[in-house]
């Protein structure tokens, strides 16, 4: 994660110039709002920072540290590494999320990581809707040496998932990753289709999918709360991935999501390459929000 330059600058200015009074706290709240934490979460954090410190003179780095530790307190408990259970063979991962959030790329990155650990992988080209989505996954399969199971464009996504698990069993894969088409959570017909994918997977293997990862784009605003709610209800999301943290967006909505849903946050995407995937670190993320390196 990177430093939010404007945020750093803002906090520095406002604290070197004044003490921690109501106005200063309000500006602090504004800075959190600019990172997409939302009004309620920003207010709560600022209240905690101000508690017992009203009108105290306080050094800039101290304020940043206080914000970071308040944010970290919320995120710490949900930061969990993503480790497939070796007892499940194949371990089935379903990737879900709205359009363009980074599902297919994240599958490619995970495939690269697991292949380098010597695992055998099967990828299911479950996005049978978007133009060249199948080809995109095949490129990742070829790059990483993962086996890709695909049918033609327009085929039933649940059928592809079914084929992939069957083939993975036959070829001794350790992990199956199922790509799905992007869908907005208010599109009921598309959410029903996703539910069907889950149902078909379960029919084949009652404990699967063993992980359902919701991929969120760091630029997203308050709508992400709703995305989490509906995807969790429909597909049984087990954890979150946040992509595109290499851009200017801070992804602060994760803090509000952590408070409300307490879903594990596993991974962050920091670029388009195979290696641009990192475990989610509550500390790094919180420090970036507060403008600390």
């Amino acid at each position: 994660a990177r430093t939010a330059t404007s945020l750093t600058q803002g906090i520095t200015d406002l604290v070197t110039k004044r003490k921690l009074d109501a106005e200063t706290l309000e500006e602090l709240e504004d800075l959190l709002i600019r990172a997409d934490l939302g009004t309620a979460t920003a207010a709560r954090i600022v209240e905690a920072v101000g508690k017992g410190r009203h009108d105290k003179m306080i050094a800039p780095d101290e304020v940043k540290g206080l914000i970071a530790s308040e944010v970290e307190e919320i995120l710490g408990p949900v930061a969990k590494p993503f480790v497939p259970d070796a007892g499940q063979k194949p371990f089935v991962v379903l990737m879900v999320g709205v359009n363009g959030s980074g599902k297919t790329t994240t599958i490619g990155k995970l495939a690269a990581q697991w292949r380098s650990e010597g695992k055998r992988l099967t990828l299911a080209a479950g996005d049978t809707f978007r133009a060249a989505a199948i080809e995109q996954l095949k490129v990742w399969g070829a790059r990483t040496g993962a086996h890709v199971v695909a049918r033609e464009q327009g085929a039933d996504a649940a059928g592809v998932a079914h084929d992939a698990i069957t083939e993975a069993r036959a070829n001794g894969s350790d992990i199956v990753m199922i790509d799905t088409a992007g869908r907005l959570q208010n599109r009921t017909e598309l959410m029903d289709e996703l539910e069907k994918v889950v149902r078909v997977v379960k029919k084949l293997e009652p404990t699967a999918p063993h992980a359902v990862l919701l991929v969120l784009d760091a630029t997203v605003g308050q709508n992400a709360l709703n995305q989490v709610e509906v995807f969790a209800r429909t597909a049984g999301v087990t954890g979150l991935v946040m992509t595109k943290l290499d851009g200017t967006a801070r992804g602060g909505i994760l803090v509000a999501i952590a408070q409300k849903y307490r879903l594990p946050i596993h991974l962050v995407g920091v670029g388009e390459g195979a290696e641009d995937l990192q475990p989610f670190s509550a500390r790094d993320f919180s420090r970036a929000i507060a403008g600390l390196d």
Partner: protein
């Protein structure tokens, strides 16, 4: 999940049973709620501030008409200022230039550039009766060029043949040549997604712009974007001077505050809305509808309109 602005303001202002003009104090209290509603709708904070200042100036001293409550009156003013700021008239894609007219599509990764390229090509072909050529300059994303080619087949619009190994700039030149020799009216250049901090890629798109001299430079952005909308819009505008904005995923249930943010910081019109994955999911921008969305309402405005 969100209360509409009228409900919220109702709580504050409708306690005032007295009639007459809105006072400074009434409006001041109302603006706190307006501010919160706009932030929850993802309008960027700085834009919220200048917006509420404008509303405050407009509202103080306004007579509350008989048939509505003070809350409804304020909502009406907020709505009007919102529509004005968003841009009151539709601003179509301008093709008033010598053929082939180049249109450059830019934006962050995954915002919907490729899909929108094909949607616009379809619209210009079918409604405008233009000969359109599409070219993918995306040398980075796996299967990006195949994606545009597939969409081209779907909408029956030609795409520039794929030549592996060429740079974005080389493809852009080839596209312009092909459009000239092929007597096309319009050439749409789809580019790779890029984060604005990526200096090399921002320089690349600036170079593409310099050599193709596009008549329209459209920033394609996700209407679910949060506070980052201002950074993205400003960065692309300052680097390649955008001529308009297309907001995708307007079929979602986001409140769409990014529309106001991007319009306000760039002054550039929002030209089109993407309303689905399918090729017919493209609509003209309608400020009334988007304003109602941002405020989480529409009914009160109609009510005040009639009064």
């Amino acid at each position: 999940m969100f209360d509409s602005l009228s409900d919220r303001l109702g709580g504050i202002l409708d306690k005032l049973k007295r009639r007459g003009a809105l006072t400074e104090a009434d409006v001041g209290e109302a603006m706190r709620e307006v501010r919160r509603a706009l932030i929850e709708a993802d309008v960027a904070l700085d834009v919220v501030r200048s917006f509420t200042d404008k509303v405050r100036q407009r509202a103080v001293g306004v007579e509350v008409i008989k048939s509505v409550t003070p809350g409804q009156m304020v909502v009406k003013i907020v709505h009007d200022v919102l529509v004005e700021t968003l841009g009151s008239d539709a601003d179509p894609i301008d093709l008033n230039a010598p053929a082939p007219v180049p249109i450059l599509m830019v934006g962050l990764q995954g915002s919907g550039k490729t899909t929108t390229t094909a949607k616009i090509a379809k619209r210009l072909t079918e409604r405008g009766n233009r000969r359109v050529l599409m070219a993918s300059l995306d040398t980075r994303r796996p299967a990006a060029m195949e994606q545009l080619a597939t969409l081209g087949t779907q909408v029956e619009v030609n795409t520039l043949p794929i030549v592996p190994g060429q740079s974005a700039v080389q493809i852009a030149k080839r596209a312009m040549d092909a459009a000239r020799f092929g007597n096309y009216d319009v050439v749409i250049l789809d580019t790779a997604g890029r984060v604005t901090l990526d200096e090399a890629l921002m320089a690349e798109v600036a170079e593409v712009k310099a050599i193709t001299n596009p008549h329209e430079v459209l920033l394609v952005a996700d209407s679910l974007t949060g506070q980052d909308a201002v950074n993205t819009a400003k960065a692309f505008d300052s680097r390649v001077s955008i001529t308009g904005i297309v907001l995708t995923r307007a079929d979602g249930d986001g409140r769409g505050g990014a529309a106001l943010s991007m319009r306000a910081v760039t002054g550039k019109p929002i030209k089109l809305l993407g309303t689905g994955e399918k090729m017919d999911g493209l609509e003209d921008f309608d400020p009334q509808r988007v304003a109602g969305r941002i405020l989480g309402m529409g009914d009160v405005v109609a009510l005040v309109e009639k009064a």
